[in-house]
Amino acid sequence: MMTFASLVERFYAAMAAWGIPWIVPTLIVMVIVVSVVLAYISVAAMFMIWWERKISAHIQVRYGPMRVGGWHGWAQSIADGIKLLLKEDLIPAGADKVVFVLAPMVVFGATVAAYVTIPWAPGLIVRDLNIGILYMVSISSLVVVGIIMAGWSSNNKYATLGALRSAAQAVSYEVPLVLSLLGPVMIAGTMSMGKLVEAQSGRWFGVLPGWFVFPQIVAFLIYFTCALAECNRLPFDIPEAESELVAGFHVEYSGMRFAMFFLAEYANMFVVSAIATTVFLGGWHGPWIPLPGLPREVAHGLFGLVWFQVKCYFLIFVMMWLRWTLARLRVDQLMAFAWKVLLPISFANLIVTGLVLVLGKQALLYVGGIAILLLAAILLAARPAARTVRVGERT
């Protein structure tokens, strides 16, 4: 919202008039901003944990948490948090203690840093970095490093194996993820998150909203699939498959250390949804009405804030819904899917997008036809041959 920026400006001016050096108001603003973001992360994560339990319960026709706090057990996550705070902290005797302690810091710090360039509403973004989307991709690669550190330092076979699988899966799905984000970047000609949202303000053919999901539907589906894999959500949760690896890389973490990983996981779910919303679903765009008694910008900003949240939580809801609908993939299927299906399709999407942009819209028909043929050919070629699994074969 424009008014936020002007408020900050007025605060700076007032401080300067008082003769206070510029560093003081700058630091005050930074501390306020980071506190708001951290509070949002904590509250949103707690809400998501409760929500996920309720959704899973309703899908399985049961109630889920009902007691703590009265109405539908809304305080369940708070109770869980207090319980984790009271739990004893154990570091295994054989662990590499320095790396063990550092790992949750790397994971959580990187997750928090990703919130710097999320565009919440018109003009309401902590910093609109000009390499926005690339920044998002590269900062989230730090999370993978943190996971390897956690798994390796535990000195536990399950944890090591879970971390390795997690890293292999994350790097496999990273490439199609980045390629799918490139389509919208090519259309908009910018990487900044704020400008990407602004580029979606028009309309397609005068009726559909100008969201990039319509020309880039293939890219959106690829992105969402890869985002599920990056978050280790089902059906891609092989790294922490409880039936074979107990819990994956964080088996040995207990109490508050485990809570930090848990918090980062849910915060990360919000980040990937926010990227999808920003890049494909038009960010804060949506219908809005000028509210009486409020300036135009404030009304627009408030509606934008609401629309952004609605879209993000819708995507998070889909993630949770999928978790209780789909079965877990086998490791070999998981890897083959990333490299042999998603990667060729995302390259094809990139090439088609480029052709349409270079040749103009009239090329769309030809290109569309060729693309469908190509996709069909690739899918046919990549279809796994009927495979007999021998008894006792290990994957």
Partner: protein, 163 residues
């Protein structure tokens, strides 16, 4: 701008400390972890030099790619039980003399050979500029890079897969 200078000194100290742990550390995994922090410190220094695209590339390629590869290779080859093994060979003194000599030469060159330059007040956004440069002036090296990557991939697969 003494604040910027202070940040520079902090980042420089952090990066040099991380590099020293990489070079002198006994535990190879800890050296790799220190290398990750060193790469992040370098990325921050790039940002200080207005090269934010390169900073992102540094994090994406070095931290997200090369260090993961290094960690995988360490876990594939190291006998972790033997941590007390000697980490340096018997040329330490000679090598230290060579490194210190090199450092002295480099410091001499950077302080006396190059005039003090202040640089422009601010660079424009670098990414479109880099894109234009890569696709026009440096088109040939750019295509050569793809051949290099192809060769590296093929070679590494052959080397790593031989059973």
């Amino acid at each position: 701008m003494t604040l910027k200078l202070g940040i520079f000194y902090f980042l420089a100290a952090f990066t040099v400390w991380a590099a020293a742990v990489v070079v002198l550390g006994k535990n190879i995994v800890r050296a790799a972890v220190a290398l990750i922090f060193g790469f992040c410190g370098m990325a921050a220094l790039y940002v200080l030099l207005d090269a934010e695209f390169l900073a992102a590339v540094q994090v994406l390629i070095y931290v997200g790619g090369i260090t993961i590869l290094l960690l995988f290779a360490i876990m594939l080859t190291s006998r972790i039980g033997a941590t007390t093994a000697r980490v340096v060979n018997d040329q330490v003194i000679l090598s230290a003399m060579a490194a210190v000599g090199l450092l002295v030469g480099l410091i001499y060159a950077s302080t006396s050979g190059i005039p003090a330059m202040s640089g422009p007040p601010r660079l424009p956004e670098t990414t479109p500029f880099l894109g234009r440069a890569l696709l026009t002036t440096y088109a040939l090296p750019f295509e050569a890079v793809s051949v290099l990557l192809l060769a590296a991939m093929v070679g590494a697969i052959i080397l790593a897969r031989k059973e």
